[in-house]
Structure formats: C-alpha cells, structure tokens
Amino acid sequence: MKVAFVVQRYGLEISGGAELHCRWVAEHMSQYWEVEVLTTKALDYITWKNHFPRDEEIINGIKVRRFPVVRPRHPERFGRIQNYIFENEHTIEDELRWLEEEGPLAPSLISYIKENENKYDYFIFFSYRYYHSYWGIKAVPHKSLLVPTAEHDPVIYLRIFRDLFRLPRAFIYNSLEEREMIQKVANNEHIPGEVVGVGIEIPPLFSGEQFRKKYGLDGCYAIYIGRIDENKGCLELFDYFLRFKEETSSPLRLVLIGSTILKIPSHPDIIYLGFASEEDKFSALDGALLLFMPSFYESLSMVTLEAWALKKPVLVNGRCAVLKGQCLRANGGLYYENYDEFREALGLLISDSRLREVLGLRGYEYFKQNYTWEIIENKYLKIVEKLEQEKRT
C-alpha cells in the first residue's frame, strides 16, 4: 500500500505542531506502508518563503517531494484580509481569497496530486486550514484522510471549511473535543473518524539534575515549553505568575523554552533559555515541579503528553476545552479559568508533593493507555483497513 502524507512544511528543522506530528506518524507508519511525503519548499510558517532547494530528498528513510511556493505570504495584507472576514459579512470568494493569502500557495503540489492520484492508495492531509489541505482534498476526496489539528478559533467557522469537512473518506482526530467541535460545525457524523493523536519520542538520555547544574538552577521551578506567543496564553501566564509571586512570596521560578515573539518580562525568577535540544527539553521537564500549558487554542498539546510521559503534573488553561478535557480524563493535572483559580491550583500543587506525584502518575497511566506508538500505529492501520473493507464491499 502506498500512502502520501501531505503537509504544509516538513523537515528535521521543524520542532513542533502539526508538521512534527506528521513527520513522526509518517516515520512510524513507514514500517507498514510505502510512505511518501508531499510538501512545500517552505520553512518559515509566517512568510512560507522557499527555503529547501531540492525537489526530492530522503529524510529518515522517507521520500519527500517538495513543491515551490509561488507567492510568499505578505503578513500585513493577510492580517488585513483576515480582520475583514472575521469582522464583516463576506462571501465565499472572500474566504477563498483569505485562503490563498494564508498559503502556502503551491499550486504545483495540487497539480501533482491530481495527476498522480493513481499512484497512491491514500492521501493523509495534515492541518485543515491551509491551502494544500483545502485544494488537495477537493482534488482527491475519495482517497483522502484528514488530520484536522483544529483549534477552537474563528477560522473553524468559515463556510469553506464547513463544506471541506464533508469531503474526506475519514478523519483522524487529536481529541474528543476536536471531534465534537468539527461535527458540530459541519454535521458530518456520517464520516468515520477516530480519536488517535500522536505518540511521543523520548530521548534515551536526559537528567533533571544535569539540567539544573548546566543552567545553575537551584530551588523549585515550573516550566513552559513551546512558542512564546500571546495566542499561546503566555502574556496571561506572565501576569498571573508575577501576581502569584507577589502575593505568596513563593520562591518558584518560571523556566521558558522555545522561540519567542513576545517581550519577556525582566524578572529574576523568569528564566528564558531560548530554543533547546530534545535532550535539554526533556531534562528541563524532568527537573521541573510541573508544566504550565496556558494556551487558549490547542488540538492536542504534545508537550502535555511529554510531561505525562515523564510523570509530571500539568497546570493548564481551562478555557481551552481540549486541555481541560485531557486533564479531566487523565486526572493528570489541574486547570484554571481566572487568576483566583490559578493562585489556588498552583499553591496546592507547590505545597502538596504527594498530589503532584499522584497526578503525574495518573497522567503517565493515561499516556501509556492512549499514546504509545504501538497504540497509535494500530489505530492508523485499523482506519485504513476499514476503508479497504468498505472499498471491497
């Protein structure tokens, strides 16, 4: 069986989000299927400027076909169009113009899918909101599977996507909440869909103690890992954390790992370490008391799963339905919806080491039951097997 994974960006340089999710799944499923990746030449997710020069390459044993982006995204123009369609009555044409501006505009990728449809048994599209998924699924609806990686933001309510969600053969969801949201938007309950998610790659060597030594960190610290961005709830996290420190005189420190597009408050207890290797990231997590996940928009949150894989509890933004749902199902962490809840929940987590231990353990059990690679691979195999059976009958 030959399966193509279609994604907006692909490469070892990309360290998070749907792209990493796609790479990991593609690499794991390559032991069962003949896998190819169809993607663009872009690396930067803001401009989609062509970065990778070669049309074809092999990455970790997987053939990757890259297609050029014919027009990079103009962030200002895109922002203007986005504001217009979110705030005004508009037409389908306006939404399609928004999609084209959003990009990555790679029409040759769509042409390739159309022309080589017969060479592949299935196309698995990642991220519903980009050009490649919209036009790609429209080109081969009967062979397409969609991993939407949808978040509860205004984009999901655009009319073009309501129709798109009724086209694929099957859905591979990241969480129950994502499935519920998409089914509510598109009334597409008749299309088969499984909640799968993604497994986690844990590096063989990591140590919290070594991390503490390396960065001269003594005392307790909580950690945030990911893009430091307002949409990820980081501004609110800084505000809540500093208020918590002021009110309780807690010695807790906040360690931040990831690229930033925000000005980080200058405070001795907020430590920004920038981008870190996988080993450093896991070592940092290993040494932390807990993980903060303040994001408003998540479809799964891989870093939350990573924390649970290391038996660490989490404190998440309860206004993100997915994060709250995961915490309630796993019993692996607490959540907050305002500052008072943040203060109480964090105070409780800091003061009660047994609670931290038990929450971490429950998170780990939940991770083991749902997110080991064996389970994820089997779920993918079952979905495709089911589609094959349908095809035969």
């Binding site: 309780t248 003061s351 609670l355």
Partner: protein, 216 residues
C-alpha cells in the same frame, strides 16, 4: 531535592489550602477543582480602597437646570443672564440680529455640560449601588455556602443514620432468625430429653427386673 522540599515549605499558604480534601488513592481532578472554586467563592472579596470611596463621594449632584451652572462661571455670567432676562421682550430680535450663534452655542455647551454632570453623577450612584450589591452578594454567597455546607453535613449525617438503621434492621432480622433456630433446637432438645427420660425409666425398670431375677 532536599533544597526543593525546603523551598516548598517557604511558600506562604493560606489556611484554606489545607481545607481541600484529596483522596490520593482515587484522585479526581473535577472534585479538586470544584473544591477550589467553592473555596474561592467563600473568600471575602477585596474592598475598594479608601481613595476610590472618597473620589466617588466627592462628586456632588448636578443642579436641576443647566442655566444654574452659569453661577459657577462668576458674576459676569450672572449679570449677563439678568440683562438678557430684562431684555426678554426684545430677545427674538436680539437673538436674530446680534448674537444668535453665540447664544445657541452657549446653550448647547451648558446643556452638554449639564448632561455630562448628570451622567457622572448617575455613574457614581450606580457604582455605589454596585459596590453595595457586591458586598451584599458576597455576604449572601458566604452565607449560602455556609448553609450548603451545613445541609451537606446534615445529608451526610442522614446517610449515616440510614446506614445505621439498615444495619440495625439486618441485625434484628438475623437475631429473629437465630432465635427461631434456637427455639427449634430447644424443642428438639426437649424431645430428645423426653425420649432420654423414657429410655432411662425403661432401663431402670429393666434394671429392677434383672436385679429381682438375679436375687431369685
């Protein structure tokens, strides 16, 4: 790790932090969050600072008519108003010929200013009412939570009593069963006793007969 534990101890905990009941064997995040929310609801809300209260009380009520505001602009304005009043019979002509625009403008400004003052005053009153209501609501919520706690405790007691009654009922039932069994056993033993008595009597008779025969 020792340093870490020490640091944990340094955190100032509110007394309520220990009020949250956690069943570590069957951890339930929903229940912990519910307890956290209830705890927050019972905490008194911070009162507005004294400065804010003073600021609110400084604003006086506005005058009834916008024209009364002229007084605040000094004796010149008052004199002008009196003169205009005296010349009222001629005012349409004066308005038309001399300063209609000025008059209209002045009237508009005064009315707008008056409207602003009324809005400010109304806002202050609303704020006062809102803060009063807030305090009352906080008290009410505290009382309600206390009542809920008491009712819940009462329910727990009732549940305990129910369990206790059930146990007593079971106990009484078992006692009746055991007593019936004992009664039956007693009856059986009595019968056995009677049989044994008869046997003994019979054996005594035989003994006597045998003794007689031996003696003879």
């Amino acid at each position: 790790m020792v340093g870490q534990e020490e640091n944990e101890k340094k955190v100032k905990l509110t007394p309520g932090e220990r009020e949250i009941y956690i069943d570590y064997d069957r951890i339930d995040v929903a229940s912990i969050m519910e307890q956290i929310r209830r705890k927050i609801a019972t905490q008194p809300r911070p009162k507005p600072s004294e400065k804010i209260i003073e600021d609110k009380e400084i604003i006086p009520p506005p005058p009834r008519s916008p024209w009364e505001l002229e007084a605040t602009y000094g004796w010149k304005a008052r004199a002008k108003r009196i003169l205009l009043k005296l010349m009222r019979p001629l005012s349409p002509l004066i308005k038309l010929l001399i300063f209609p625009v000025y008059y209209e403008l002045r009237e508009t400004v005064l009315k707008l200013h008056h409207a602003n003052m009324r809005i400010d005053y109304a806002c202050t009153r609303l704020d006062h009412l809102a803060s009063k209501m807030d305090t009352e609501l906080a008290k009410l919520s505290q009382l309600l939570n206390q009542r809920i706690d008491r009712v819940e405790k009462r329910f727990e007691e009732i549940d305990q009593l129910k369990e206790y009654t059930k146990l007593l009922h079971n106990l009484a039932h078992n006692l009746v069963v055991e007593m019936s069994k004992l009664k039956i056993e007693l009856d059986t033993l009595k019968i056995h006793h009677r049989i044994l008595e008869k046997d003994v009597r019979h054996l005594e008779q035989r003994e006597r007969l045998l003794e007689k025969e031996i003696v003879q």
